[in-house]
Amino acid sequence: MKKITVGFLALLFLMTLGGCKKKEKVKVIPPAEKQVAKTGEEVKEKPIPKPVVQEESIEDMSLEEINKKGYLQRIHFDFDKYNIREDQKPILIKNAEWLKAHPTVKILIEGHCDERGTEEYNLALGEKRAKAVRDFLISLGISPDRIKIVSYGKSRPLDPRHNEEAWAKNRRAEFVIIAK
């Protein structure tokens, strides 16, 4: 008999809790129209939604999520060249600023090429591109221990087509965050 009573009380308690939770949810988003109706006051202008911006911290995200955000932008190169183009330097400067703001982050720079070269010379060219980017970031004050490089040559094109547009897209250096 005693056990049943205790059980019954516990059940009642849980039900009350559940009810409370539901109520709370309703409270969170009060419909503006209803509020007006309740108080009976006249509202001439509709309220605008309050802009809410959450501060994002990369500490809360997985590496995969961080890389999806695209904090570090890729840069492009000229055909058969590995020097950093003037128009690409602002992108690297931005990338360097972000890296300075996140001093624990380590990155992998991937060098890629278009298809107009042999596998092995494209591997060499991709490596030169990755190194050129690394050296540029170092010159902007990023520590060399934070940077790894790899070349994929022409094996991972962004655009598989065989035209100038595709080739220009595929001649690039990508940034992958490997530690946060």
């Binding site: 107009r116 042999t118 490596e127």
Partner: protein, 426 residues
Amino acid sequence: MRKILIFMFLSLFSFSQQEITIRIKGGIPAIRIAVPPFIVRATTQQAISAAKEIEEAFRADLAFSRVFDPLSRDLIALVKDRNPEKPDLKAWESVGASVVFIGKVEEKGEYLRFVGKLYDARSKNFILGKSFYGKIKYRRLMAHRMGDELLKYFGQVPIFTTKIAFISDRDGNRELYIMDYDGMNQMRLTYTKGMEMLPAWSHNGEMIAYTSFRKGNPDLYIRHIYQGRDELVARGGSNITPDFSPDDKFLLYSSSLPGNYEIYIYNLRTKQRRRLTFSYGSDLTPKWSPDEEKILFSSDRSGSPQLYIMDSDGKNPRRITFQGSYNASPDWAPDGDRIIYVSRVLGRFNLYMLFLSTSQVIKLTSGMAMNENPCFSPDGRHIVFSSNRSGKYQIYIMDYDGKNLRQLTSKGNNLMPSWQKINYRR
């Protein structure tokens, strides 16, 4: 009909003190072989179809070889008398056969026996008899073994049992595969989910050196294919483009560890390595000369990729290509005289052949597509390469003169072929 004398195998056979000149008339080889329909002693459907496949594979080998010129079905049909024990060699001679091959396949339970007898139609002599016995699933191998015996009898390199290693992304990412020289028995060897690239066969047919990104970086491994074991050869920097020495004791490769690609030699037994080149350019794709005394490689030390030959200790490099601004991916023919390579001309990548003795250059492919990674067959009569002429990259073989082009692969992208080597000096 224009007569073409091919002396390219002279140097190859000089070691056996037997000079062989293959006379080719307008591309038609000299040995006229008659292969009448095989005699089949089998009862089960499985054995009957296996026997048929043996005959077809054997015929395909002979037709592919450029050593034999099989008689057409029409000519064979002219010879009525087909006594398997005593062929009418006079009749065979009269239809133009130099030699006659009598094939017989017998079912023995789960096994097959493939017996071949070769007769000289002119001298009327029995000249060669061979018998192979094996499980039905090895039927194609039995056919290739028989073909190899015929090649060996005529002093040629046995290529029908050789294999081709290549890279394919048919299962999603680039992995290492092997197949028979005729494109059959395609088999995946790696399951790293990283990226594999640029394989190279050893001469004993049991090792493949290749680059793998399985740990993120392009490291160099040797796969011992019949042991299922990988041996790490080089890591740190990028390590690519391996090549086994003719005696399989050393491996050449290129490493970017010093800052740019330089050529290294690795001793497979002592595991010690030595750097051979010291240049500001990328020194890549080292290849041993067949006599093991020289190394062919590509380098952009002059500003653009060109081909060079140096001594096997890295001394006396000299440039050998002067036409075009981009010459790379070379392979050295077993005769030591011909070099096949990729040249970029007006943005197109085609295969070219350079004759060292005459400095003559011949263009072997044409068109808008990419043609890459050429590699000679062990007898130097055929070339395997990859091309995206049909859309995706596929592996093709053709003869040394660009004839008889055949596509070997079709699923996914297939590239970077390496034809198994054979060391004839053994």
